[in-house]
């Protein structure tokens, strides 16, 4: 029973750890499907996390925090759009710049406003998104197998977790079942076709970036208001880049993206779980090795296991009307 409980615990933390990845990955999916490379997912998550924790601490409201996280993240997405859509700048440079601005400005503003070394004040329980206990979760907790699965895995997460997973079918539906999705996919493949069909390429791409901003904002809010009780500097710790890797791994498809993010989340959870405990055959391994494992596996998976991933054909190329 112990090992069963251990598995449940690892899976539970897999879900928690994969949520920010999943939100960021879907965010990247919107922008890349529309033909805009977005290496700035990391930065947008970071400003979202900071804005969310700050606003929640100041206004004592989790909802205001979330709203602020989304607002600021969308604003950064629009900056990326202004540089790369309106002014046809290099999308990678613009994305990297956003990451730098995010990393620097969150620390400076955090120190200036709260004087806690770049941190935001620790959030009170009512300033965070509480876990939602599903009906009957406590009642059946002791039922073997089903009990822990229901009580631990399905119930007991914050609303943002359910939101993230609900976004998977929703994104799929938007992408493949709506007019907006059709046009967005088209603009990522051949913007000239969209332009000659009488649709504005720029406006379409801006709308995709707004979707990206909303999702990275929620991802940031999750980090600082659910996983953590406040903002800590550089708390995204490369999750934006892992999300991009997951996006390639998933071949730009929403359902695949969910499984890719769960896999990366699982690697993370397993690494935490196995820290310090000896492995069979190999014996005790250094903590650093276990911590590096998810990243090593990321490289291996991306290098060998996905086959040919064909990105949206117009990705990374600013649209210029040509004769």
């Amino acid at each position: 029973m112990d090992s069963f409980n251990a598995i449940i615990q690892v899976l539970d933390s897999t879900i928690r750890l994969s949520v920010p990845l999943l939100l960021a990955c879907l965010a990247g999916l919107f922008s890349e499907r529309a033909g805009i490379f977005d290496i700035g997912l990391e930065g947008k998550m970071l400003v979202g996390a900071f804005a969310g924790a700050s606003a929640a601490a100041v206004f004592h409201s989790a909802l205001i925090g979330l709203g602020m996280a989304i607002l600021i993240s969308v604003a950064f997405a629009l900056v990326h759009g202004f540089a790369s859509i309106t002014h046809r700048g290099n999308q990678i440079v613009s994305g990297v710049a956003i990451n730098f601005i995010a990393a620097g400005s969150t620390i400076i503003l955090g120190q200036a406003w709260f004087s806690q070394g770049g941190r935001t004040p620790a959030l009170q329980p009512d300033e965070r998104f509480a876990a939602i206990i599903w009906p009957g979760a406590d009642a059946i907790r002791d039922v073997p197998i089903i009990g822990p699965i229901y009580a631990e895995l399905i119930s007991g997460h914050s609303i943002l977790v359910y939101f993230a997973f609900a976004m998977v079918p929703f994104t799929w539906w938007v992408l493949f079942r709506t007019r907006f999705g059709l046009r967005m996919r088209a603009v990522g493949e051949n913007p000239a076709a969209v332009d000659t069909a009488g649709i504005s390429v720029a406006w379409l791409r801006y709308r995709a970036l707004i979707c990206t901003g909303i999702l990275t904002g929620v991802a940031g809010a999750y980090l600082s208001m659910v996983q953590n009780g406040g903002f800590v500097k550089d708390m995204t710790a490369g999750k934006g880049y892992i999300a991009l890797a997951a996006l390639i791994f998933a071949k730009w498809k929403p359902v695949n993206a969910m499984f890719a993010c769960l896999l990366f989340g699982f690697l993370d959870a397993a690494a935490i779980r196995l820290q310090g405990s000896p492995l069979p055959i190999i014996g005790k391994v250094p903590v650093q090795f276990m911590q590096a494992l998810p990243y090593v596996l990321t490289v291996i998976l991306l290098a060998g296991f996905i086959g040919k991933a064909i990105p949206p054909r117009a990705g990374g190329v600013p649209y210029v009307k040509e004769r």
């Binding site: 493949f176 079942r177 007019r179 059709l182 046009r183 996919r185 493949e189 076709a193 000659t196």
Partner: protein, 510 residues
């Protein structure tokens, strides 16, 4: 006279210093096929892009159905019943036919209803115009002819009454082109107005009712097709009488300069593309290789110029062997006096993002003339580029201009100038005038003959039979990787055609 579907009055359009259209007047009658001809860069596509709302005219007026209109976006044009089939198809390659057709004209925010409506509408269009295409096929899996049909359906689905086609036959096989013409005639019978942009005069004569000729941004004439001739149109296009067949003297063949023996070449799949080919080219003669595209001519050229490795065989350049199976590299061959004008100037012959002067020395940039110590001698390069621009009449004559901004004919002249001005002993040329307009064709042919008269050995590969016949002193015909016959310059088109189709080859093999 039928009512005018479109009237363009005094259209002007400049791109920077270039006046692409100046004071254009055009009237297209309803229910007719109107051709617009002109050399590359004459401003045909610009004019049609203005009509389709892709660009705005600097001044002038557009009338559709007699009413003055302003067209700011493609949407405006579509609303006025104008549809356009672009030279490069505006299709999303990994979408289905239906998805491409509804893109931008969806009837509902959800796709399900839009697609259902499009499907029944498409069936009606297919019935009415005989434009069959599988609505659920993925675009990239369709042959170009069908992709073009999807473009036409796209326009009709949007209710186009006026259809503009920009160089529609450039990518089609002759059979596909014939089919397209039948479709266009049928559309005309249904009352649609068609504007056909092309630089192929034969198409104009075959299908249009009236034809307008553009030259250097101006509209020089409009004729009723039945009352004009190819000769007159060609003259109007170029502004002077064109020699459709270049004059040349007898060749004085000298020593063998290029000798190919038992050459066999395989492609990357291991299929034999050149099969045991042998021939000689002497100084002072032009040898033409005729054949339907894909019968090994491209691979033959690539092997001789050192781009592709041969499986076996021997090639002698000026009496010395070239190591073809090993590491003959194009640079070494260039040093030994073999110049090569590749078939595909965009991908092999030029770096389109470079300036003209850089392309005019590409491959010869290690030559001492262009160097100052380890650095490029910019002054010498610019002087050299200007010299070539003058000699070859490259337009616009600006060596600093990005090569992509030159028209196809002028790009070809840049490559030809670069290779010919190195004074090579042997010149091999693939498709010398592909996508080149009438005036430039004549010029290029004259230069090739001048090379011959200087005693150079010239090998020309072309899929244009007329070109081969008018240039060559000897004609080799390739079929299925083999040279199946040799003829003199007086061989008839029919005779060569049979050889190209492999008919005589089978008889000879018995």
């Amino acid at each position: 006279m039928a009512q005018a579907a479109i009237e363009l009055i005094g259209i002007d359009k400049s791109f920077g210093a270039v006046r692409a259209n100046r004071d254009i007047n055009l009237e297209v009658a309803r229910g007719t096929i109107h051709g617009i001809v002109g050399e590359n860069g004459a401003g045909k596509s610009t004019l049609m892009s203005i009509l389709y709302g892709f660009y705005q005219a600097d001044s002038g007026e557009i009338r559709v159905g007699g009413k003055p209109v302003s067209i700011h976006t493609s949407n405006d044009a579509i609303a006025l019943g104008i549809g356009m089939v672009h030279q490069h198809f505006m299709l999303v390659d990994n979408f289905t036919v239906l998805e491409n057709i509804i893109l931008g004209a969806e009837s509902d925010a959800l796709l399900k209803k839009s697609i259902a409506k499009a499907r029944s509408e498409l069936e009606r269009l297919e019935r009415e115009y005989g434009l069959e295409v599988d609505p659920d096929a993925i675009i990239e899996e369709l042959p170009v002819g069908l992709q073009q049909r999807v473009e036409i359906l796209k326009a009709l689905y949007r209710g186009a009454e006026i259809l503009i086609l920009d160089e529609p036959t450039g990518v089609l096989t002759p059979a596909e082109a014939d089919h397209l013409f039948r479709i266009l005639k049928q559309l005309k019978e249904q009352g649609k107005t068609i504007v056909l942009i092309t630089h192929k005069l034969r198409e104009i004569m075959a299908i249009t009712d009236t034809v307008s000729v553009m030259r250097q941004g101006t509209m020089v004439a409009t004729r009723v097709t039945k009352e004009t001739t190819v000769g007159e149109l060609a003259e109007l296009m170029v502004g002077r009488r064109v020699l459709l067949r270049v004059e040349k003297g007898e060749s004085e063949a000298g020593a063998i300069k290029l000798s190919v023996k038992n050459l066999t070449v395989k492609d990357s799949r291991g299929v034999t593309m050149v099969d045991d080919v042998s021939f000689d080219v002497r100084g002072g003669e032009i040898v033409g290789i005729a054949g339907v595209a894909g019968n090994g001519q491209s691979e033959l050229l690539e092997a001789i110029s050192g781009i592709r490795h041969a499986v076996s065989g021997e090639v002698m350049l000026e009496g010395k062997p070239i190591d073809l199976t090993g590491k003959a590299d194009p640079g070494e061959l260039r040093d030994r006096g073999l110049a090569h004008v590749p078939e595909d100037r965009h991908h092999v012959g030029l770096v389109l993002a470079f300036e003209e002067n850089e392309n005019s020395i590409l491959g010869y940039h290690d030559d001492e003339r262009y160097l100052k110590g380890p650095f490029l001698n910019v002054d010498a390069i610019m002087a050299d580029a200007k010299d070539k621009i003058e000699k070859y009449d490259i337009r616009p004559g600006n060596p600093r201009l990005k090569t992509a901004n030159f028209s196809g004919g002028n790009q070809q002249k840049i490559v030809l100038a670069r290779e010919m001005e190195q004074d090579p002993g042997v010149l091999i040329v693939g498709q010398p005038t592909r996508g080149v307009d009438v005036g430039a064709i004549e010029f290029i042919h004259k230069r090739l003959i001048a090379m011959r008269d200087q005693g150079k050995a010239v090998l020309v590969v072309s899929v244009e039979l007329d070109e081969i016949r008018s240039l060559s002193d000897r004609i080799l015909v390739m079929f299925a990787g083999r040279v199946v016959g040799e003829r003199g310059p007086d061989a008839t088109e029919g005779e060569l055609g049979l050889l190209m189709a492999g008919v005589e080859h089978q008889e000879a093999a018995q």
